[in-house]
């Protein structure tokens, strides 16, 4: 191997009232697999909130208590070439409310497929700058119920995304900044009409596009990465949850979270990496104030 490659597991962005695990799969780091390297990983995520934003008003709901979303995700990334990687993520999600009577939901959520292309690399001073572009596609793997928020495991849209990432490393220190624009398809709901800020006589729901951004700052070498992370999700439109109403797929869901992430190659087993992260939503709109923990492992094969 030319270098020890590390596959960064995107922290599940369990921001929304639904832990939109699929959104985490827009790969937001600058690590590339070498040609014919195949990384396989399994992660477990636990995300919970008991307060949420009804529009911009934070509240709790005694008929929900604490809402917990958990998932197990299989992640694969393959080096087609050193500069061109293929990533696939498959999540299984289940939800639960600690109070009230809403039934939990479970199922395979959205598959995420990305093509990652490192198109520019240069030296700046003593450090390295690399620029990466990603094209992503995600779609529900099962016909899960999307109109039962906050218990639904996903929103049901099929998405196309385009992402740009810039990464700078100087010695041990690094910083990554990344942003993805997500085009979302309309979704279908089971009911024949719904109220947003007006009544709609259709079962199709217009889903506004989204912007995901993140900033990582930390230390990184071939064995270890420790980073602080700031992540943001913004939805271009949608409507606010009205007072004491239920959430809906096309609410304007925004969130900002702060967290930390670690990747570590185990010393006694080659090519086995463990990862862990913790994130907390510090600001939001029509989402839960989640705290999210993730842990997992990755094994890299050379084919």
């Amino acid at each position: 191997m030319k270098k020890k490659t590390i596959f960064h597991l995107v922290t599940a962005m369990a921001f929304s009232l639904v832990a939109i695990v699929a959104k985490a799969q827009t790969v937001d780091d600058a690590i590339m697999m070498s040609k014919k390297q195949w990384c396989n990983g399994l992660t477990y995520m636990h995300s919970s909130w008991n307060e949420y934003w009804e529009g911009t008003t934070k509240r709790n709901n005694l008929n929900l208590g604490t809402v917990t979303t958990q998932s197990v995700m299989y992640m694969s990334s393959y080096g087609i070439t050193d500069k061109f990687n293929l990533l696939v993520n498959v999540p299984y999600v289940w939800t639960n409310a600690s109070a009230g009577t809403m039934h939990g939901m479970k199922g395979f959520q959205d598959i995420d497929i990305d093509l990652k292309y490192e198109f520019y690399k240069t030296k700046i001073g003593k450090g390295d700058l690399s620029l990466i572009a990603l094209a992503g596609f995600s779609t529900p793997l099962s016909n899960y119920e999307n109109d039962f928020l906050p218990m639904s495991i996903g929103l049901g849209s099929t998405n196309l995304s385009g992402r740009l990432t810039a990464d700078y490393q100087n010695g041990l220190f690094f910083a990554t900044i990344s942003s993805a624009y997500v085009f979302r398809s309309d979704v279908t709901v089971d009911r024949t009409s719904y109220y947003t800020n007006q009544i709609n006589y259709t079962n199709e729901v217009y889903m506004p596009d989204q912007l995901y951004s993140n900033l990582f700052i930390g230390i990184r070498n071939s064995k270890l990465t420790v980073q602080a992370q700031l992540m943001n999700m913004y939805t271009f439109g949608g409507f606010d949850i009205r007072k004491n109403d239920m959430p809906f797929v096309s609410n304007q869901m925004n969130s900002t979270s702060l967290g930390a992430h670690v990747k570590y190659f185990l010393p006694f087993v080659t090519n086995l990496e463990v990862v862990a992260s913790a994130d907390y939503v510090i600001a939001g709109r029509n989402v839960g104030q989640s705290q999210t923990y993730m842990g997992g492992f990755f094994y890299i094969l050379g084919l």
């Binding site: 005694l62 008929n63 109070a99 009230g100 009577t101 809403m102 039934h103 939990g104 596609f137 779609t139 016909n143 899960y144 119920e145 109109d147 039962f148 849209s157 099929t158 196309l160 085009f183 979302r184 398809s185 309309d186 979704v187 279908t188 709901v189 089971d190 009911r191 024949t192 009409s193 719904y194 109220y195 007006q198 009544i199 709609n200 006589y201 259709t202 199709e204 729901v205 217009y206 889903m207 596009d209 009205r242 007072k243 004491n244 109403d245 239920m246």
Partner: protein
Amino acid sequence: MLMATGCQKEVTNRTSNLPAIDPASTDLTAGTWRTVLLSRPDSFAVAAPVATSSPLYLADLFEIKSLQKSLTGDQANTIKYWAAGSVLRWNEIMRGLVAKYNLPPEANSDTSYPIPNSANPLAYPLFPFSNPPYAARAYGYISAAQYDALVACWYYKTLYNRAAPYKVDSSVSALYINKTSLPSYPSEAAVMAGVTAEMMKLLFPGEIANIQAKLVEAEQATIMSGAATRADITAGEALGRQVAELFIARARGDNASKAVGTPTDWSNFVTITTNQGLTPWYSLETPKRPPMLPLFYKVKPFLFDSATVVSLRPAPPPAVGSDEMNKDVAEVKNYISNPTRENMRIVQYWADGVGTYTPPGHWDAIAAEDFVNQNYSEIRFARNMALLNMTEMDAAIVCWDIKYHFFNPRPTQLDPSIKTLTGIPNFPAYVSGHSTFSGAAATILGYLIPANAAKYNAMAQEAGMSRLVGGIHYRIDCETGLTVGENVGNYAILRAQNDGAY
């Protein structure tokens, strides 16, 4: 690129692009049809219109012609929207209002619940909380008032027999509407706007301004289309508002204002049930919420009297703790233990819960979209919607009578491990409101459109059963509810057979 659900696109409402109303018959005899409250079609005077040779009439034509000359694209779209039918469009607007106001008040910090106050409707919690019984009554009163107003309208149309502007003057166009031989004075579009806008004073006082704006829009669109002169409009609106006042007067005395009850009333239900050795219902919300409109059963029905309400009560449900009840609970538990996706679909399709137009509204949507294909005149459309909505209001009264007479617990109260696929409404189980509303609606709609009777019955069955598979009702709530609904619907059929419309 695979895109299973297609690319992003603007969403179109099912009824956005309907053609202009094209009645098979002008129903000229509708002025003789049996009204709901009006003692006679000419109870309210409508003055004779001026002659079409009069300068006042000619001035009204100038107004139309100048508007038609400078018609904008937006104005054309507004004409097309209203041309699909006044009864249809006002019903859609009403459903939107019910959905807008169908939000349960949030608890105060001291765990009490604030109650909407009609004397202070703009303060939180907004008045009204348009839950299913409130909504059923709102739809019932508005549809009945609209019908009576149109009967009076048709009476005067045939009395004065003044043709539409485009028939009187060939230089007035019929824009985006179908020409008709129906006399235009007074304007049925204005009657509809006037009666509906006036009813807001009772039913949605916070919306008076918005609906007034809709009234102006509808009246303006009607004039621009060439269908009516301003004099037609003015007379029509005034007539509509007067008929509405008749219904508002009835409503103020129909006992609905007392339906919320008092804490004494609420605890009486518990006492009465416990004294019979039975298990009383309690709220499954946190904090516990008072039962929803427990005295709604006292509201005066349209289709029959309050004594009939009592006579429509079914046999009691099985007692809590009995073998039969234990079996019923187990059946519910079984349905939600590993719910199928199809059952989730059925539950969500029919849920019509918080933030929606409620089950009566759903049946209004089903009916309105089917009526559009029947080429009804506006008066017949109104008569049929009135039959449906009076049925739904009376079904609500009968259902609430049964619920609060038996006051029995929801499945989750007896087995807290039963989690549900939709919210548990805050009132007793037996009988299911969805089933009652659906059985009643399917019965009257099946009479009005016999070719669709099988479809409506199948839908009613599914709507009823959705509450069982959703985990919020026992089977007996749904089956009995459908039968009770059918009994209510039969009263509407009786009326329909004798109202002169056939």
